[in-house]
């Protein structure tokens, strides 16, 4: 599977975070009486935005998480052992 899930997650949260920050600046202060006087939109929007960026960075780097287990030495060793034990048939990993 070549689509790294972190890219859509990152993109979506960066986008939603940015939207929240903007709404935090635009929405009238009257609205924040509900959230106990805290501008939760701006604060939480920023948190979501940063989370989105981190996910995007991790996804771009394409680190070990997404590779098939057969692409690393450790993964190959485990796969080999599993095959030996009859737990996996060869060629079952795409």
């Amino acid at each position: 599977m070549r689509l790294d899930i972190r890219l859509p997650i990152g993109l979506m949260f960066a986008l939603l975070g940015a939207l929240l920050v903007i709404s935090g600046l635009v929405v009238s202060p009257e609205e924040y009486k509900r959230s106990l006087g805290i501008n939760i939109n701006t604060i939480w929007g920023a948190v979501m935005f940063v989370f989105g960026l981190i996910m995007l960075l991790l996804g771009r780097r394409g680190s070990a998480g997404m590779r098939s287990s057969e692409e690393g030495p450790e993964g190959r060793a485990i796969e080999a052992e599993e095959k030996e034990a009859g737990l996996e048939t060869p060629g079952s990993i795409h």
């Binding site: 899930i5 859509p8 997650i9 939603l16 929405v27 509900r34 959230s35 939480w44 098939s68 996996e88």
Partner: protein
Amino acid sequence: MHLTSIDWVIMVVYFSFVLGIGIALKRYMKTSTDFFLSGRSIPAWITGLAFISANLGAQEVIGMGASGAKYGIATSHFYWIGAIPAMVFVGVFMMPFYYGSRARSVPEYLKLRFDEKTRGLNGISFAVMTVFSSGISLYAMGKLLGTLLGWSFNVSVLVSAVIVLAYVFLGGLTSAIYNEVLQFFLIVFGFAPLVFLGLKDAGGWTGLQSRLSTVATASGFGSGAWSESWRYMGQPSSNPMGVEWFGLAMGLGFVLSFGYWCTDFLVVQRAMAADSMSAARRTPLIAAVPKMFFPFLVILPGMIAIALTYQAGSSGFVLPKKLDGTFDYDLAIPMMLGHYFPTGMLGIGLTALMASFMSGMAGNVTAFNTVWTYDIYQSYIKRGASDQHYLWMGRMATVFGIAISVAAAYVATRFNNIMDMLQLVFAFVNAPLFATFLLGMFWKRATGHGAFLGLLSGTTAAALHHGFTLPANAVVGVKGGWFGALHVYPSEMAQNFWTAIFAWTTCFVITIVVSIMTKPRAENELAGLVYSLTERPKQDREVWYRRPAALGVVVLIMTLVLNLLFW
């Protein structure tokens, strides 16, 4: 609740991503294994998050919030002695057989281990149950969105059914899993600020505790009955759940939770999609870590809601009442969203709520299309067709599975009792299952006839127990007692736990007795299916935090600490 354009934009963004993932994955769906098992190619952290997210449907979010208000922190037993130990068990002990046997579904494992009739019984009852559960989910969502936002039931049900249909149809299990991960993060980010604001309004944890003691004493219990999870479990009469520690530990902890987390294909399917045996075993263990903190996300808001209702905070939040004057506990979380969130954040919160409904439904749909195609269609209707044909059938099963769910949701609007009845029947069918799997995996002598008769008699025992008992203050009918109430339980929950205990024990005993009287299978046929005849997967080459057993111990210690902290 009033939505502005920013809330709408947020919803549109989310649903575009949901559909976009389905479209992006479509070109990878080349074989039936790609569609039903994600080609067994997904890393453990993704399957792990999907493992909890598939279960994080409507019943979980709305129901746990409601129970938090109704029973207080004791609701966390559903996690801390329920789900977590079961998840550790399935990862450490059972996954080697599910993943290692190369079975494509849980019923198929039963076919490999026992025989065709046991698979048929499990496969058919599971297929029926998942389709109706997804209908229940749809009905609940349509009703809730109507209450909160005044949306029409038709629009809510049809639009969400079409969205789930689109992304499962296009991208199969991978699409469902990817979207479940997306939904997981959305639910965490959507509800965390709610807990923060609610706690702040209630005066922090200590403020909440003192308010909850007002709730407890006003309801006639000791002052910590809502904020201490174990201290009041000595007797059924001293806690609002009406259960005692033994029924709780055996009924909920052992039978119901192990039965669900270890044998329900809805969750096990996520682990089966993992890219290696080691990843499959780590799936439920990775899932257990966020899962143990979920009480703070879904139960705590309910506790805050009831606390503020009895002793008002600065913002004046009150839990609404139903027409008959009792609290409408199911509205605890939705009403808090509307009360505390300003426009913008409200969009995120509502989207998270809808996401939870849809992830529950998509989980049911992917489990249904797999069991239908592999265990019913391929086994009894059309054998030996091409793989492309089964891939096509999987897509068709997605369409008619969702069509039946929608129909079930509409039936429920007319006869609400039908849903209660169905859930009752599901409980009868599910309760004995764990005994069958436990014996199947760990006792090589267990036979197909034993398993089949054990399951049937377990379900019968559950129905009989329910028919002969009644919870206190309940009328004879859906609640039980239709054969005459021989015993009255202090609460409905106590009755449920004991129904499960009876069903499990009957299935366990009958399976053993019948197995001893029938001919066992040759040992060489059972390699890879039974514990004593399977070589242990070696773990020495992995660093400790990747070894399932070590991870399992860490998870259990963390859970123990949580139990002690909120004792």
